[in-house]
């Protein structure tokens, strides 16, 4: 009896073992086969696998960079420039996509027929056109229709929009670090004050006016550094310079290149449609009784949305919206199509052409995206657990 059972167990284990061993073997075989081929191919081209090239001089220029960079810097620094540009456009895109998406999502549920229809058509139009076409449209068609440098669109004499980009004033700080630390200190202080306020409310039922207090801390502390810390801020306004009879350029200020504008526009408008759908689904997912109960205790419409609907709807909205943030970050790689110097264009494009190190460069690029994706999803998971229903 015992023996029989043992036999069945064994055969079951064997049955489980065979496909697993086969899978592992297959993977090992594939890896070995591919790496032998890769070694041969690289040997034929006279290069060996390694990441030493990262410290070599890159000797190419990048049109737009957040940190100092020129051709004499290393490939590693070029990679960093590309990465920062990717993060920049993703952050801008996420910011505007969220604002636009939430607005449109709420607008779709508006009682106002016109608003609801307009929001619906916005979603239906922008969701169903490939993102890359939208990027092309903004870059090659819409932004190219802007006026030339000499007759730029003027925003109150401080910022100028033309076909070469958008010129905005540059902040020139003295003692910026002190200002920065004071901001951090303000946030830390705010954290403790809000904790204290919550304690007061829970224990003795006293409501502290949190909005004025937090505003005072956030504005007052950095402002103090202006008064006594020797921090000062001045603006450098872009100025029109005439180079020759027909050539004009803007000097000074910060120039936001059209590639960045069109990419950020397309990314946020496209992703906003998906976020809007998530928001709508989230709000619709809240039981109607919640709304009615809130209305019956005399809350206004704005209060119902802010205090009752949104906190509950957020739990439904956050997980799919995380996915959209991830998609936006990954979609920012389409930058390569319009020559915005993101990580794909700089590293997987130019650097790869120059060094020919396909395997190293593509793996680094993919790993970078994997890390970015994972870090966003870890952050959003943390936020999601924080927002989830706390059962006592």
């Amino acid at each position: 009896m015992n023996f029989k059972n043992f036999k069945i167990d064994l055969s079951n284990k064997k049955k489980d073992l065979i496909p697993q061993v086969l899978t592992v073997l297959l993977i090992i075989l594939a890896v070995v086969y591919f790496s032998i081929n890769a070694q041969n191919n690289m040997g034929n081209r006279g290069i060996s696998f390694g990441f030493g090239f990262l410290s070599q001089e890159s000797s190419f220029d990048i049109t737009f960079s957040l940190i100092d960079y020129d051709g004499s810097d290393s490939y590693a620094r070029a990679f960093l420039v590309g990465l920062l540009n990717t993060i920049l456009v993703s952050a801008i895109g996420i910011f505007f996509a969220t604002i636009l998406g939430v607005t449109v999502g709420i607008a779709r549920l508006s009682q106002n027929y016109l608003i609801a229809k307009a929001a619906t058509w916005y979603v239906e139009i922008f969701r169903n056109i490939p993102l890359i076409l939208q990027i092309f449209f903004w870059y090659f068609a819409a932004l190219r229709a802007l006026p030339l440098t000499v007759d730029s669109i003027n925003f109150y004499d401080i910022s100028f929009l033309n076909v070469k980009g958008w010129y905005v004033p540059k902040f020139i700080w003295t003692n910026f670090s002190l200002f920065f630390y004071s901001l951090i200190a303000a946030f830390i202080l705010l954290f403790f004050v809000s904790k204290y306020a919550k304690k007061q409310r829970d224990e003795i039922g006293k409501h502290l006016p949190m909005l004025p207090i937090s505003l005072a801390i956030l504005i007052g502390l950095p402002f103090l550094t202006f008064l006594i810390g020797g921090v000062s801020l001045s603006f450098q306004i872009p100025e029109l310079n005439q180079l020759s009879k027909t050539v004009y350029v803007y000097r000074g200020g910060v120039s936001i290149i059209p590639e960045l504008i069109s990419l950020a526009l397309a990314l946020s408008m496209y992703t906003a449609t998906f976020i809007a759908e998530n928001v709508r689904a989230g709000i619709l997912g809240i039981n109607k009784g919640q709304k009615e109960a809130a209305a019956s205790i005399g809350l206004t419409k704005g209060q119902i949305l802010k205090l009752i609907i949104m906190p509950q709807a957020l739990r439904i909205i956050i997980p799919p919206t995380t996915n959209q943030y991830l998609n936006l970050t990954k979609n920012s790689s389409l930058a390569a199509a319009i020559a915005y110097p993101d990580i794909v264009l700089v590293f997987a494009g130019t650097a790869l052409m120059q060094t020919g190190r396909a395997i190293e460069i593509i793996s680094i690029t993919m790993l970078t995206y994997l890390t970015l994706s994972l870090s966003i999803s870890v952050f959003m998971n943390w936020y999601n657990t924080k927002m989830a229903i706390k059962e006592k």
Partner: protein
Amino acid sequence: MNINILKPKKENLTNYIVLGGFFIFIALLDLLTNVFFNWNFTGFLPAKFSYFTPLIFGTLGLYLIRIEFSGNKLLDKINVNFNSSNFNAILTLLVTFALIKFVPPLLNWFIFDANFLGNTKEDCTGSGACWVFVKVWLNRFVYGMYPDAEQWRINTAFFILFMAVGASFFASTKYKKYLIIFLLFIYPIIGFKLISGGDFGLKFVETGAWGGLSLTFIVSAFSLILCFPVGMLLALGRRSNLPAIRYTSIGFIELWRGVPLITVLFMSAVMFPMFLPDGTYVDKLIRVLIAITLFEAAYMAEVIRGGLQALPKGQYEAAKSLGMGYWRMHFLIILPQALKLVIPGIANTFLALVKDTPLIFVVGLLELAGMVNLAKTNPKWLGMAMEGYVFAGLVFWVICYSMSRYSQNLEKKLSTER
């Protein structure tokens, strides 16, 4: 008569309607004369104020006619749908004004001032769009660089596809099975052979010449057919009890889902050839198809996994108690139900796939968007970017919108059956 102008009431309904209507009329008149005749009759007011006059008059007018339960059905309907509060009234006005301001110029550009006749850029004399560009390039936009004389082959291939798909909708269950087997296993080979040629007296057309809208369809159709079984296996693998298989599937799925398609295509273009023995050449299109298939299979796997998880445990237990093995249980009991549950998800994945196809330009294959890019750089047709992208956008929009509508209908139909 005692009219408190600030409190519209039911008693003086007509007065308020007349007064409110008058203000709304002034607001619209101000805007319309401004937009169409370029004449601002409130121009004598300070510039900043005159700019907002339509909004102010309109809000006032809408406020005056906001009378609840007035007894007039039309008025009540207007108030509920457009005018339930001051905020809503302002929104209504803003949307109306935006429509009046932007729709006519758009229509003019699109149709009334557009050029349809002629064959060269010089024929475009009107101020609107130059649709001549699209007309002249239409053949390229649809067939790419495929030789003109051989284009009937693409048409035939798609004709067979549409006939087979159409027939499978109407055929009885007995024949449906064969039609689906034909579509999944035999048709891809026939279609590919027909378009690429090389045998049966058909001229060989290299894949580099394929392009345009037909390439969009080819890539989407092949990737969809191929990614389905791979995604299914991955989904089953991820839910498997065997650790080696489970972790392999998880790793595979998360790897593809974590990277953008464009890097995968780069990989297929520059990294993949390094992994093959020296001298082997795999066709560009096939490399792209493999890359897109693996990429979409990872997404498909997650969609199908959602369906598998949604099935009640009893289904598995019932199948097992009938003595079914792993594969029989999944193919006969579990998957048919799970797939039905996730039809919207599958449709979304397919939509994403169609919208991703333009990316194949990174390896030098030009489908519709790529052909537009090519055409707009033609020296004879410079400055036609707007027309080209609007046309391509319209085509993609029609395809994607109708597909999403179809999937919504399908979902509704199936949900009533349950």
